[in-house]
Symmetry: C2
Subunit: 481 residues, 2 copies
Amino acid sequence: MSCPFQPSIPVRLFFRSISIATALIATATAAALSATSPLSAQTTADIAKMRPAAERIVKAALADSAPYARLGRLVDGFGHRLSGSASLEKAIDWILSEMKKDGFANVRGEPVMVPHWVRGAESVTLLSPRETPLHMLGLGGSVGTPANGITADVMVVHSFDELTKRKAEVVGKIVLFNVPFPKDSTPFNGYSAAVIYRGIGATAAAKVGAVAMLLRTVATFSIQSPHTGAMRYDSTTKKIPAAALSIEDAEMLDRMSRRGDKVRVTLKMSAQTLPDAPSRNAIAELRGRELPDEVIVVGGHIDSWDVGQGAMDDGAGSVTAWEAVKLLKTLGLTPRRTLRVVLWTNEENGGRGGRAYRDTHTNELAKHFAAIETDNGIFAPLGFRFQGTPAGAKRAAMFAQLTALAGARTIAPGEGEADVESLIEAGVPGFALDVDPSRYFWYHHTTADMLNVVSETDMRHSVAAMAILLYALGEMQGTLR
Amino acid sequence: MSCPFQPSIPVRLFFRSISIATALIATATAAALSATSPLSAQTTADIAKMRPAAERIVKAALADSAPYARLGRLVDGFGHRLSGSASLEKAIDWILSEMKKDGFANVRGEPVMVPHWVRGAESVTLLSPRETPLHMLGLGGSVGTPANGITADVMVVHSFDELTKRKAEVVGKIVLFNVPFPKDSTPFNGYSAAVIYRGIGATAAAKVGAVAMLLRTVATFSIQSPHTGAMRYDSTTKKIPAAALSIEDAEMLDRMSRRGDKVRVTLKMSAQTLPDAPSRNAIAELRGRELPDEVIVVGGHIDSWDVGQGAMDDGAGSVTAWEAVKLLKTLGLTPRRTLRVVLWTNEENGGRGGRAYRDTHTNELAKHFAAIETDNGIFAPLGFRFQGTPAGAKRAAMFAQLTALAGARTIAPGEGEADVESLIEAGVPGFALDVDPSRYFWYHHTTADMLNVVSETDMRHSVAAMAILLYALGEMQGTLR
């Protein structure tokens, strides 16, 4: 899913995209409350015309076993797909070959150079008050330790404020940030609050003399299951190794520390960053029957972290987008505009695929009608978020009458996903599929992001909702700008 | 918790205790529906007299931070407590010293020789259709593999019947039993149905020529979290290594197999069984003020598997029993009968502690008024199960009016726990604390059986319920036999 910690973005810009989104949401919500615009009549007419097609789509999608079977072949067949890995490139080769078999137009891999971080062997061992292995995952982008590890006392803190207040104690220690999601927050709001410690915790700790950073894993629930994810360094501060501990182990060290026990660990990580590697955005098109130059981009990110299968994040989002377009093709519902499936590479630890797409297609962006990415997992679909102008939000919202046939009952202002962020900034109206968020942070970036997390029923509904939205946007009169 | 797979019990006796329990339950239920017996008047009078004490107990227990703090010092301080391990014996030393500090009488460790199985390094690596490590835990009691492991094709089956039907295909293969809990079963009923594959799956597979046995982990839910647990061999069949795979990985191999992929793995296990080791049942008493020779045994098992901290299974049950007795002592509510805390050793992989207690105290069993073990984790208490005569069940049920003050609203016929099984068979009325079962099989026998699984609120309520029951049984007139 969307990662706010791109290595090249300075700290002060960390929440830039969130601020932009918040502003747009506020404006769009205000507009949605205003009087009916003249455009609504046209949209109402569009909707009436499209309803029979939407009903056909739902019927076909709910009976279609192909999307889930394809997701299974992708994730079981290739496993994780970390940027720079052979498995990612093999998966992309297979995807391009399958897209050709599907009969899509202009199937190609568009080149992107991606970061190449490799985890290697890693461990955290508790030495005091007793010896036991802990449950950890190094954070993506972290430097490694010396071969014999870093052995030091652990200082547990619960906020950046506490780190600052106790900075005199930090020198030579390993800082453990034990910061849960805020109480009573929604999963995604809680994530936004907690993930900052993953992003810049190592730098904050290094600035006051820490030798390594450990993190209570960023999750709503754990069965000794640490989560990896992106972190970044500050170019002015020493790079120290950074790893997540399971919630259980972070809580245990905190309890030991509160009892006055000396908490001492050895952290070993052989992580390293190799030279950038070649990768590709995988692209295929269903050319529009009337307005082929107007492009609706739809996709997910095909890369994943190097644990689990990246089934939920974001194999399922990728295959849902791809299969939604395929379903329209199969049903003979080719819309007026071109539907372009884009499976971006390197969302997780660089965002290079999203930016490369923008750079490669700069001259076409004015003709991009909409950009849609799914990256909150595939669970029961609830609706779509729309990021764009208030007028666009208002028109888009009306199509919820159609997507509701597949369970996606609202199209409401909200933030788009990471790979389309640069398109949205360039003025392209953005959409994201909203799904039941309750279990996402149980699995996100863990070894448990496996096919069984994704329910086939939910995926069929999601394909249906996405295909309806694509059909509606592809057919509609006017614009969403 | 209760393990039906004691190495010395022949297969045909596997469900013996369950059958006995079922028979008793049926009889007792019938009795509970019959007319009021003359004993009820006495019990009603007992209850009225005890109510003020029960109210004091609840108030004190719900304000008492000591039990959870003690559980924390036990499980964080010593970690897992597998039979034969130094950590178990150190934990027992500490417990005996704490029991003495509590001022209990006759504090002692009663000798028990226990099995000494050690896990060692272990792994399963998928070789085909692609190479990736799988998530596994060897089963307790399993033999190891040769040093270079066992490499073989995997045959996935879903029942013993399927294994029998396809036995011609088995020779030289590793059998994977992918058997989930039956749909719509309660957690404990589902466990009873699924755990047979853990218990005798290796022997069943070996009989038809398998070289090793893998098992879909016996669990209701997994985050790549395999569960260990006892298995046993048949003396007439070759011993083959046995390990659990996470639900996710078992499902993946099954999908691969159904697609027609050749599924091939290397299993490496350096498990071995060493000579039996000395251990102890930890015992302490609050001597009865009028009938000190009448003994109410109450406890949990102090041993655990060698993963996690054994906090839920059964550190929490052990400390709840111990602290319930301590609470009565602190409140000056010493009952007429003696309360004997027994923390049994080696429940998990041998049941030696329970049998040793019976053998050591054979001459006293007629004077054992009741035997209570808690071994379903500590979650929100719901009530108690009673295993004994119909008359006893009826009288016991009335005390639910008192234990309900702590949330334990029923005392109903049901099966007692493993360590008191031999006492119950000898005629001692048995009780077990019933708690919310919904999450037990998420954590049971996993690395995630850590303190945070146990809520302090639930533990305070459980101590209160147990202390009320102990007080009531310790004070009551008559007998439960």
